[in-house]
């Protein structure tokens, strides 16, 4: 933060803060950031190595545990609240909610990360080209972004996923391929990817636009560097911070979207686990078995929060803002 104490003082953007206060703010931000990072690492390790972690039961496992009389019983009917046997309690069918929350995390994380990754490749390319060459891509992207903003994505997603179900069930072939593979997991991933392209393209476009005016790019151009070289060697590396911020924040948004979608029944189908689905399945029993609704919601919240915290920190660190886009 540089402060020009002169006539522009009144319009200078950042407050003057005493060093101590500033340090406190920084350290507070750090706490959030490190909380986010640790939560994500912990969650990711559990989610992706669930099968090898002894304290995570199987997603579909119906464990039999010692009941009050010592004999082995099923934990069905929400028999166990949170405790040593079942960290997050058991659900109606007697499955371990902790394990299901972990497997739900795997689903949510894979779907969101793969979608954002794909959107970054496609949207990033489009955005870079649009930002560098401007022109029609630019206009198409802005219309698409406008259109997407004019309509809640969750509805489009539910609509398309519903239709993808029919497509999967149908005999329709495309280029000789059927659609048997089009499971809900894929449907969700595909539609999320598709819906993320335009916003990602828009951000990358804006960054490219400002980068392509920078001196070093102009210099490279004046030295006769070819366009692909400029794009790959000069612009792309400088897009990385923005992309990192977009990945984290984008994943947070998609996690929330997956939750909502699963809640209205358009993410994976049972018996697969998803946070939103668990909330939907158990919420009418919240009086008797609060854990079956509250823990999935908490997992969803903390994970979204963690991604937001990290993404926000990255964005602040590299000074990436929507307004500058």
């Amino acid at each position: 933060m540089t402060i020009a104490l002169d006539d522009t003082l009144t319009t200078s953007d950042e407050p003057e803060q005493p060093p101590a206060a500033a340090k406190k703010v920084r350290s507070r931000r750090q706490i959030g950031f490190w909380f986010g990072v640790s939560w994500l690492v912990l969650l990711a390790v559990h989610a992706f190595f669930a099968e090898w972690i002894p304290w995570v039961r199987g997603e579909q496992e119906v464990p039999r545990v010692a009941g009050p009389d010592g004999e082995l019983i099923r934990a069905s009917g929400y028999r166990f609240g949170p405790g040593l046997d079942f960290w997050f309690g058991s659900d109606a069918l007697g499955k371990d909610l902790f394990a299901r929350c972990i497997y739900a995390a795997r689903l949510a994380l894979t779907v969101s990360i793969v979608s954002i990754g794909g959107a970054l490749i496609i949207g990033g390319t489009l955005g870079m080209l649009a930002g560098y060459f401007k022109g029609w891509i630019d206009r198409v992207i802005s219309v698409l972004v406008d259109a997407l903003l004019a309509f809640p994505a969750i509805v489009i997603a539910a609509l398309v996923i519903g239709r993808f179900d029919s497509l999967q069930a149908s005999d329709i072939e495309f280029l000789g391929f059927g659609f048997d593979w089009l499971s809900r997991r894929w449907s969700v991933t595909i539609i999320f990817l598709f819906l993320s392209i335009a916003p990602v393209a828009r951000i990358v476009r804006a960054q490219t636009l400002s980068l392509s005016e920078r001196e070093y790019v102009l210099a490279a151009r004046s030295l006769g560097a070819r366009t692909p070289r400029i794009l790959v060697r000069e612009i792309l590396p400088n897009l990385v911070p923005a992309m990192v911020a977009v990945i984290f924040t984008g994943v947070a948004i998609l996690l929330a979207a997956e939750g909502g979608l699963a809640f209205i029944g358009y993410s994976v189908k049972p018996p697969e686990a998803s946070w939103g689905l668990m909330i939907s399945e158990n919420r009418t029993r919240i009086d008797d078995a609060w854990w079956a609704t509250v823990f999935p919601a908490l997992m969803l919240f903390l994970t979204v929060l963690a991604f937001n915290l990290v993404g926000d920190r990255v964005a602040k660190r590299f000074d990436i803002r929507e307004t500058s886009l």
């Binding site: 200078s12 309509f151 539910a158």
Partner: protein, 321 residues
Amino acid sequence: MRYVSQRLLQFFVVFIVVTFIVMVATRIGSADPVRDLAGGAVSDQQIARVLNDYPYLDQSLFLQYPQWLLDFVTGNLGYSYTQSQSGLAMFQQRLPPTLFMGFWAIVIGLAIAVPVGVYSAYKRDGAFDRGASYTSFAFISMPPLVIAVALLFLVVTRTSLFPTVGGSSYIAPWDSPWGHFRNFFIPSLALGLGLAAVWSRFLRADMNLTLQSDFIMLAKAKGVSPARVLWRHALRSSVLSLITSVALQVSALIGGAVVVEQFFGPRGIGDRLVFAIQQNDILIIQAITAVLVVGVVLANLIVDLLYAVVDPRIRHARKLG
């Protein structure tokens, strides 16, 4: 005038794009839209009836679209054969709950965001500001679904005041103000809290900027009291970005309403839309999506108008434009 026509053109393009995409989406993997529409037990009679009402349904998409569009603008909002209900009647039944919910959500959002945002900006970096900042960050990370669970767990199950999950139903405020409140408060809050979080952030940021501007300094130098500086001078000019934010949240609001209506009720247009999607009731899907897009577009137009009301400079510029 040029400005207005430009905006209208832009909105028109958005409308066409969205409605066309939705139309295409409803036909994915569908062998026979007419049969889909007839729903339930399908007899030849029923199919004939659908085709008699909507003869274009077995044509190609590009031929269907303009005819559908013509129907839409002439007030034929489709028909649900599985529900024996016209699109128009469906809207009459389903729009009011959602409109009320959205309205109250916005009211709640503003009622929280404005004082919080203003006070945060005023006592910048104070304890309140910091507290509000963390709280709002947390709420921004809470999808409506999570807020709904929190409200259910922390409020609904602990008081006997409000209907539980799925129990909220539509009661018009003029029929029973208390009944209306009971049924709408929790769903509206579930939507409104998220809005409040976003808006208080935007408002605070904008207020901070405004408070540093010269005219605030001048107002201060005139000896205007801080409260007056804050509410009369600063807030009014920061309100512009807030209004924009409100309009931009309309589509997010609809998305949230889809979830919240499924969670608590009341049964509004979001609930109906999900049901229509489940049933592949394509004409209803198209009608609802089109109306929602028009709603979002209208919200933006209203914001444009409000801009001019709030900011004389814009009024001026538009007159010239």
